[in-house]
Amino acid sequence: MNNGLRLLISSLIPSVMAAAGAFLIALLFVVFVRQDPSVAFTALLNGGFVGTQNIANTLMKATPLILTGLAFTIASRAGVFNVGAEGQLYLGAFFSTITALSFSELPGLALIPISILVGAFVGAIWAVFPTYLKLRFNVNEIISTIMLNYVAILFTSYLVNHPFKAKDAQFPATEMIPDQAFLLRLLPPSRLNMGFLIAIALVILLWLLLFKTIWGYDFRHVGQAPYFSSYIGISLPKTMLSAMALSGAIAGIAGAIEVLGVHHRFLDNFSPGFGFTGIIVSLLGKANPIGDLVGGIFLGGLTQGALMMELNASIGRELVDVIKAVLFISLAAVEAYKPIIHLFSDRKVKAQDA
């Protein structure tokens, strides 16, 4: 146990170092534009993590990030990289909007789950397609999922600009969904809603799935040791397809929750890159659902804090984008260089040889 704890802590070191490094570089930026870093960072952290409304807004902004983080996590555990959460999220959001609009006579108790499930289903299909291409034609899923993002974003953009544009809207948006489809707001005036609780539930479910069930066993072993997995009879295609379907479904749910909980309609270009930030969340959280929860809240807090910082200290909120970028680069570098790092410092790995 003691040992397990130590292992856990040592595995978190890269995340913590990356976060610290990112803050340091952001600090240089602040100094560079001749602002007082202590003012900037106090405003940033206070805005994100102090006060009920600030915290509520942090959690609201964290919700889609936790979910897209989970989406990346579940696929990468099975050895497939879903960089397409952004597109899956857009399609999920759009089709769940359409569902909510089409069945407006249904009561909320039926309409909400149906709309969310439709979002999940569409997201899943959008993720399964590139996985099929990978398995059948050996198309690299990183490239194809990135490309499919553009298809999804532009497709929904067309739909919301033309056939589905609300008559009275000044900007590209669908009609408002019926009231009974709104997710309950938890701490108004903040737009924090039931979606956050759904995210928490999914964190717990996916953690159980990954570490306690036979399906999680399949996912993890296929991702870590494909040769071993096929030798013991796990079907790699089936496992990768189901991991990707699950991943896409979660991204679709993230989109549905943004609509049902936050905007109440589909807005053109509503996502500030939730799908991509989810990758950072998953890398920060070490591909563990609990880590995604923490990482999502951390990045949600930074986004919320950035707004407050801009308001109170008049430092551009783009500072947080710098932090995110540096985080991503350093975390990705750690992942990419893992084999080489091992090559030189095997002390912990010990003799895997005989």
Partner: protein, 504 residues
Amino acid sequence: MHNLAVSMTDICKSYGKFKANDHVSLHVRPGTIHCLVGENGAGKTTLMNILYGLIQKDYGEIKIFGQPANVKNPIDANGYGISMVHQHFKLVPSFTVLENVILGTSKTRGPLLDKQTLEPEILQLCNQFGLEIDLQKVTEDIPVGSQQRVEILKALYRGTEILILDEPTAVLTPQESEQLFITLEALAQSGTAIIFITHKLREVFRISSEITVMRGGRTVGTVFTKDVTDNHIVRMMIGKSISLSFDKKGFTERKVVLSLQKINLASSRSKPILENVSFEIAEGEILGIAGIEGNGQSELVEVISGAQKATSGKTILDGDDVSHFNVRERRNIGVVHIPEDRNKTGVNISASLLENMIANNYFMPDISSYGFISESKASSYTVQICNTYNVKSASVLAPISSLSGGNIQKAIVGRELSMPRRLLLASQPTRGVDIGSIEYIYSKLIEYRNNGLATLLVSSDLAEILTMSDRIAVIYEGKIVSILNAHETNEIELGFLMTGSKEN
């Protein structure tokens, strides 16, 4: 030059309460090949990792050429002229051989690699020590034997005076091993001290001039090879002598378990990998496959296990055509499999011992219910395998990479044989396993055979094939060239057939 290249005295290393090295001493002369032998888990790798700076000793003294040495990491070790060839090579797979050799050395000026000037120097080294390697090839494309030569070349290029090889021959064919021995002898001639770990006594007597025996974390003693016999060494290693002869009982009535009918496996190249392979294995029979590695044995096993689909032909198991069954469907009707590549295929090296032990039945009611894996059931199942097959591990949750190589192999054997079984596919089942455990694994294989298990045994060790098999099929270029009764043939005849020479 000092008369001892390496002098390790009273080395201690503990993991918790467990003493992996307990006052171990090892003294190696320059220009000699010194074998380090002992049972699985005796502490050989641990001792070498200490010398190479991969792990830190708790106590003891190391002198290199008479000077006290403080080896904190492999870079220090290189500074002292020490190199180590691990059983699992530490090469960058996507680099060329040349790039791997010069990686991390600072012999170039400026930021750019000057491969042209370095190449002749490296070629010269290859020639001097009889290392045949194509420097331009990408490392992952060359066979293991050549990859190992790259490791040795790397060591030579860094100017090694002390070379450690941890079970280098475990992954080599007998031919590749012989090539390695010639290189090592040339190296020793030029003054290098070589420490060589192996479980094969034949090799010990083939190349070493001195032998140090370890047991249970301690040194039993060091002897001159010319003064001892293999029996002597075995007794030092495990405290008793061993006989590798068994009581095989014959069967009167034999039901066929496995029948292969005209199996063909095409390849993208012109020659097929398997061509019209047909044979039968009966209940209570061990069929050995003899052949030089790379003649289709691995693929044959994969076709039977279900990992590869044959291009044509039928696989019949207990009278049923299972040609279209996948791996799991075949496992569920009693096909168990000890794979040839222990670390890549046989286990998930990044997982715990427990997760590796439940690989065959985590989805069955004995381990899980409603999809949830029961930790207590899984752990008592693991403990049971470890007890029956004498697998030594700190705990069931320990990462399997913390087990010694031989213990990992025993764990795999135990895992496979603990399942309901009709047909055993055993590829190199005793690779990297100590003599005591070999005897144990053999006795298990014979016991199951006597109880009716059909076994396909693939091994590059002819002695193993001859002792264990009832019949022997010789494979050459994907064809079964001959099937012989084991007691009517010998190594010479087999060796002859394996190279494709016809008898008459």
